[in-house]
């Protein structure tokens, strides 16, 4: 049987993005198998971002990287209110994750979610931005996306059509995927850095 290869440009773009995003999406598992979810490599030195509810009370988590290699990560900080956790992997030298601008998203913009729903590794979901909830200053607070998510997608990236991360998938509300925009994640990282919780200086985009 000849494998089918699509010649449609959109198909090629999607499979290309899927491979790219896979490089900085990780699977996280708690010590006793609890707390299964996803995460992203925020910094090539091994700084990981996931959801606070994925990490739970764990101090250390098992990490499976996009290339299948495994390692461990230490929990550095947890913001339960914003549902963000910051971890440090024991290994470095990871791919650099491009951070996008959630402010540039509009209802209808294409977004992709990568994660490990129900433990299925590197599952890709395609959809569009449904609506963006903003805070009083007009900055994105939540991104509601018409993408199919399931438990295990939590902590994984929401990516725009250019392949940049715009949010961390965190919840399913009324069937909609709800992601925490990267501008909020940056603030949490900034705060953790100011408290001396990070082992090195992390710059933040957006």
């Amino acid at each position: 049987m000849t494998p089918f290869t699509s010649t449609l440009p959109v198909d090629a773009d999607l499979s290309g993005l899927s491979d790219l995003v896979r490089g900085w999406t990780v699977a996280l598992t708690g010590r006793e198998g609890e707390g299964k979810g996803s995460g992203v490599i925020w910094h090539p030195d091994g700084l990981l971002v996931s959801n606070a509810h994925v990490v739970g009370e764990s101090r250390r988590m098992r990490v499976t990287f996009g290339d299948g290699s495994e390692g461990e990560a230490r929990v550095l900080a947890r913001d339960d209110q914003r549902d963000i956790a910051i971890l440090q992997a024991d290994s470095g030298g990871h791919p650099d994750m491009p951070v996008g601008n959630p402010d540039a998203l509009r209802a209808g913009s294409i977004v992709l979610a990568l994660g490990h729903p129900w433990g299925v590794p590197h599952a890709l979901s395609l959809g569009v931005v449904h609506a963006i909830a903003r805070d009083r200053r007009g900055r994105p607070r939540h991104i509601a996306a018409d993408v199919r998510l399931a438990p295990g997608n939590s902590g994984g990236p929401l990516v725009d059509a250019t392949g940049r991360v715009v949010g961390i998938n965190a919840m399913i509300v009324g069937g909609l995927g709800v992601a925490i925009p990267v501008n909020v994640v940056s603030r949490v990282i900034q705060h953790a850095g100011a408290q001396g919780l990070l082992p090195y200086k992390v710059s933040w985009a957006a």
């Binding site: 440009p9 959109v10 209808g108 931005v129 449904h130 018409d146 250019t162 009324g174």
Partner: protein, 302 residues
């Protein structure tokens, strides 16, 4: 720019261009439904989302709120028309020429103050069909798109920003449906003209029954099923034409009928006041009479 980025920008541009035509309708408890600005002072929406007729308010795309009154509603096609207390600026709605299976579509809604979007494809496109309540819909349009709050009364557009129709979750339990723009136009214009949609009416309850072989052979073409009259409205066209309980109708207006739904389909609003020959079987004999199609009395609201 990759093809995916172009598509993403196109879809966001569709939401930006069609979005101003959308409104939020506050006529039920909790979550508002969507509607389409049809004319500067006219909004079309679904019948099933109008759960109260007083104190209806409409939120326009610019965020302002306007009171609205019900012009009319047609439960059979799930369409309702509202009139705004003051006219709004109405963007142009570009109608789509048609819809094909597999076409990328966006379902736009406005369940509050912001326009929302969902992506999908046309999953089935067929011919004219009748809803369970007997309404005539010009084209069968099923969409594979997630149904979120505000889906009903919202717009279905293609990737070029042309409007295919108005979405409804009230026409099928199984899936999301879109009422084509042609049907919305036809029903809305009739509601604006008369405040209601006329339906033909003859005043009988029918039940499909098997005909005795002797009778079946007398008919041309032969037919083994007819529609027995099991109830008769007093003073209605059928009883005025001498039709009695137990008569079995085998043809109506020159067409053989074997299903009550078929009869319903032949009683469209345009037929009100016209005559139709009826062939029926009574006591084993085939006879023909003529009746004048009346207008269905205003039904109590579902």
């Amino acid at each position: 720019m990759t093809a995916l980025q172009n598509l993403s920008d196109d879809l966001a541009a569709v939401v930006a261009s069609v979005g101003p035509s959308l409104v939020a309708i506050h006529a039920r408890r909790r979550i508002p439904a969507s509607g389409l600005l049809w004319r500067p002072d006219i909004v079309v929406t679904n019948h099933h989302v109008i759960q109260r007729e007083d104190g209806i308010t409409v939120t326009l795309a610019d965020g302002t709120s306007v009171g609205a009154s019900l012009v009319g509603r047609d439960p059979t096609t799930d369409i309702a028309v509202l009139r705004l207390e003051r006219p709004a600026t109405q963007p142009v709605i570009r109608p789509a020429a048609g819809a094909r299976v597999g076409q990328i579509v966006l379902a736009l809604g406005m369940p509050g103050t912001a326009v929302t979007a969902a992506l999908g494809v046309i999953s089935a496109a067929g011919g004219e069909w009748r809803t369970w309540a007997g309404g005539r819909i010009d084209q069968y349009l099923r969409v594979d798109v997630a149904v979120y709050d505000g889906f009903s009364g919202g717009a279905l557009t293609n990737a070029s920003g042309e409007v295919i129709g108005m979405n409804s979750s009230g026409l099928s339990r199984a899936s999301a449906m879109t009422i084509p723009l042609a049907t919305v136009t036809r029903v809305a214009e009739q509601l604006l003209k008369t405040g209601r949609v006329a339906r033909g009416y003859i005043g009988v309850g029918l039940q499909a029954v098997r005909l005795p072989t002797g009778v079946a052979a007398q008919l041309t073409p032969p037919q083994d099923v007819g529609l027995m009259v099991v109830s008769l409205d007093e003073g209605a066209p059928a009883s005025a034409a001498g039709i009695q309980l137990g008569d079995t109708i085998v043809s109506f207006d020159g067409r053989s009928v074997t299903d009550p739904g078929e009869m319903l389909g032949m009683l469209s609003g345009e037929r009100v006041g016209t005559t139709a020959p009826v062939t029926l079987v009574r006591a084993g004999q085939v006879t023909t009479t003529t009746l004048t199609i009346g207008e269905r009395p205003r039904a109590s609201r579902r």
